[in-house]
Symmetry: D2
Subunit: 355 residues, 4 copies
């Protein structure tokens, strides 16, 4: 079977349509040499953990799991008990797209949902949810989870993170950051990962590797080592301990030591910005909100979007009620130009049809 | 950092010390081309599922998860409720080495343990556990899980599987097969996978890919499609749905379409047999039981084993109270010869010391 | 210590402030004679189960548990798996007042919440939630739970129950009825329990005993016996099997055989209606919605409610944003008159203060 | 229906065949006066908690739940996480008779079972289980649960409890005491409840009320208040918070303030001792072990036991492989004499048959 038959031409429906970036693949190939101790007791895993410690400029505890659903759910479960509540935005991935995984891993914790236009939590929304119910008939709020960038492509500034952290401390809540696209936030803010996380009060970060260019894998990073007690057992029991761990960790070495983690994200962000710029003046097409990271959300009529899909373009429309175009580490400018051109033509046809 | 510093010379402690076999790696590289739909909606995943259907000569339902702990636990959870019991041998991996994962995924199912010298269940032991308690104060037996080959390296014959299946049917129990090394059983018995499983009454098989030459990944195969209802939701919620699924499934295509799944296993088995043959006459060294698959369990005094470890050899001693030597798809005969030589010398020294 | 010091004068904050009704207490005392087999294998338990079968005119399966939280959660858990969704109204007790119990007992099922002014689900709201998401990234809807009467004191008509049942069938959903105050609905509708439940499509009913006059205890009634498979094990494992079961079931015999279950509820309903009637013309006091059962929800300014509380009256204000007055099986008309008088006086004072 | 038809004449199969003792019933009746705040916010509950604090001479945290399965499981769940192990004797009720409840409430904790002839744990058995596995592939031991008295009717001396506590401290384990018949241990040892628990290193005690003469109810007592954090939420979520709490707590007031908790247990113990004494010389009948509390385990041939059952006597034979005779707070000496006589006659007949 030819490769062409199996894979598809570049699309902008999701950044997880992309493949493995060269730095990650090459490290994985390098790791495929001889034998290595299993379950993380190998040199690649130690090296990857150290690369994280260097990146974050602190002696954090690092765990490697298979995917984001597990990373977030295990981290949250480690911060609360089944009768506790987890405060999140209503568009948070943990609430909308993980099929009840946080509830499953924690054996019943309830997500306490803050309505939010841009997917961002605020100190006020946290305060409201943290104080709404104080009786034992309702789960006791215990953790806040924020998505950085949000599902709707917005990036929290460091000041916003700090303000949220202050609200958490005021209410005795732990602060978890779902960083499935954390690198994109770093690229946007041009601040150090340390600044964006523990120096601003984040307790635990789930750092996404898959969308950043890996085949599979996320890192769970505990800045407060005490919170990580027995987390290795938790991962093992929950089916998240890889036996041939080196193949989950070598790619991290490739990404982190080369700096590709950041250049990948910066490229994706730039492509999103470029696309937004190109379509800004197309009549009937509105960009929904600021393009902070690698997503562009677009409002357009069915008369525009349907023909666009008929031309073969894929995009999600179920998030935030808009058409989402997502740019990955390998986004190709020429292919974006094709998309822009098709979108222009579809918009024009739709306009003509109205006249 | 040079590769040599990171990985170790070939060892025989576990078959998960080995790397990725050429067929799996090459397919993974082939899959790394362009974009592909995520979460299994891609051509590689369909192709891998079909390869399994061909291999098993039936229209089975196939799911791809990250590791064996999850594969077994999710399969068992789908076959019972929290108040049910799962019958297994006392040396079963689910009982001894998965940190309570079956109990976690099922929210409390109890493992009902049959004592077994060679790790094999028998119709009698199943009958005993299935009838021991019939009151609601004890979990109701609902599933039998057998490990093929067993943790102690023994292979159930097709007749044995059929007899177990008959016992299951007599007691209304489902039959699950933990096939972390299923390929090694096939290689040993020289019978078709269909014969060894559904034709002999197995309801669900967890087919191990990692030890068979993949980086990561196991397949859960439901021969009775009704039992697979909503299993995709179960996987998703439990953090076992890969977003870039093609990298979990392309290696299966590589293994299955090339036949490497079987040649890898056959090589490993041969190496175990070769090692057993070479050490058979070493004084003070006894092979514990028949070498059916890719493991050799050896009884020897501390006076022999300690010096062997000091020479740099790694092996487990916590399974079945013996020293376990495990041979992987890439086991190297020359390296085995080194091990044999060292074992001979250690045995000789120990004998001399006694005199 | 005198009794007066320990208990309080009659209040209308909740119907669970009331004690044990004579019929229930007397049966409990009768049951306290000699020895009886434990765990439900006694004559009282059989008699109570039969009384339910007679009441519902069908050979239903009946289980006795300690409280409503457990009754609802166990029933729901038996109707779905952890990755399924449970459709309910946003004011449903399972959503607002059980501290995540349904999520806990089911190991993670998500409550899918329909916004509802009067606490009632409708075929439309069920249809909307049942079809909103069809992908594996979100819990699959599997059960509908309706509260009869609703938390806001409204009673579904038989036609409404039938319409909901039809919507459930159309979407492959089971129908559970939370009947913590089911007797009050029966008293209101003057229809047979059979008509209000299984003949209208209800699969499982949780029939509340505590608010109906018992000390402790609810019944879980499966009209479709197949759905009750192994439910006895589920209760046992979840800590809901009483050893001295007769003391949980004899009161049911007392309530059901004497008809007190219905007269108790009718009295409570009448008291609510009486109260509503008496306060209907008090200026500044508005009854929020139709008084179908034993609750009256009242809108009034803080200037009225605060002085009322200062006079020693207790009522909840956190349900439906109104002051709730709840009338129990033992509600005393003279005491209600006192409440009416005080409310009138407080309303008058508040009005005077405004002038 | 006459009472006689519903209840049975006194039996010795289990102490939960007995009814409610006068002191508990009378308090329950006293509590049934007027209204009381629900969910434990009433005077009876405060009074019961204080009675426990006085009894234990310390400011412990006290929670009231419905039954022993829940009491033990919730207490254990509060002391460990799902990936931890709970050390217990192989005959412990949590292992043999709670249908996997500890695994359910803790979401997967594994019971690590010590083989024990008399049901007692020892420092050695704890040490062995605490150190057997130190890797993440097996649940990490975190709690020890001891049953006082044991399922086989033996009472730990204070010195034995202290030695176990020392072993726990040495291995960083919490110590839980399943005191379903704790009062019987106190009666046997004639030491203060404080001495037998927290002064000897017990962290949490489940104090059984049902077998002590109540209709329903157990108390969970945390001597280390920090361990009780949010335990009220845990109870609520798990369906163990009674709404009309006074009826669960007033009986405790009745038992504790009157001293009946101890006189009830002492009577039961005396009856067991009396029975043991009376049958000591019957040929073919052997008392299995020391009669410390209210159980007598008897070895006798089927030729003796079967005729005894045919005469209408009930006793369990599935615990410890012997016939168990259990004496409750209301055991009647005349009825015991009848049993002794019948046992003598059966033994004699069996002997004659052999000749």
């Amino acid at each position: 079977m030819s490769k062409e038959n199996i894979n598809i031409v570049q699309q902008f429906a999701s950044d997880n349509y992309s493949g493995i970036c060269p730095e990650a693949l090459s490290a994985m190939q390098d790791a495929n040499f001889g034998h290595a101790s299993s379950y993380g007791d190998d040199a690649w895993t130690g090296r990857a953990a150290n690369a994280f410690r260097q990146l974050f400029e602190t002696d954090c505890e690092v765990f490697f799991v298979f995917n984001g659903t597990a990373a977030n759910s295990l981290a949250l479960a480690s911060l609360c008990q089944s009768y506790h509540g987890v405060i999140c935005a209503d568009s948070a991935h943990v609430e909308t797209d993980e099929c009840g995984a946080p509830e499953f891993f924690s054996n019943g914790s309830k997500l306490l949902v803050a309505h939010s236009a841009d997917g961002k939590l605020t100190p006020d929304s946290i305060h409201e949810l943290a104080t709404k119910r104080q009786d034992i008939h309702y789960p006791k709020p215990r953790v806040v989870t924020m998505t950085q960038p949000t599902e709707t492509g917005r990036v929290y500034t460091t000041e916003e993170v700090q303000a949220i952290s202050a609200a958490c401390k005021a209410h005795g809540l732990s602060l978890h950051m779902d960083g499935a696209r954390f690198a994109n936030a770093c690229a946007k803010l041009e601040q150090s990962p340390a600044e964006l996380t523990w120096r601003s009060g984040v307790d635990v970060l789930c750092f996404g590797g898959t969308k950043n260019g890996m085949a599979v894998g996320e890192a769970v990073i505990f800045f407060d080592r005490k919170l990580a007690a027995d987390f290795d057992y938790r991962c093992k029991q929950a089916g998240q301990l890889a036996s041939k761990m080196r193949f989950l960790t070598a790619p991290w070495v490739g990404l982190l030591e080369s700096g590709a983690w950041l250049t990948n994200a910066a490229h994706a962000n730039r492509c999103a910005a470029y696309f937004a710029e190109q379509i800004a003046t197309i009549p009937g097409v509105t960009i929904v909100s600021a393009v902070d990271a690698n997503a562009v959300f677009v409002h357009a009529s069915e008369g525009i979007l349907e023909p666009l899909q008929k031309r073969g373009w894929k995009f999600y429309t179920f998030i935030g009620g808009a058409a989402r175009f997502m740019f990955s580490w390998d986004a190709d400018l020429a292919r974006i130009d094709e998309l822009v051109r098709d979108l222009q033509e579809c918009a024009l046809s739709a306009k003509d049809a109205l006249v």
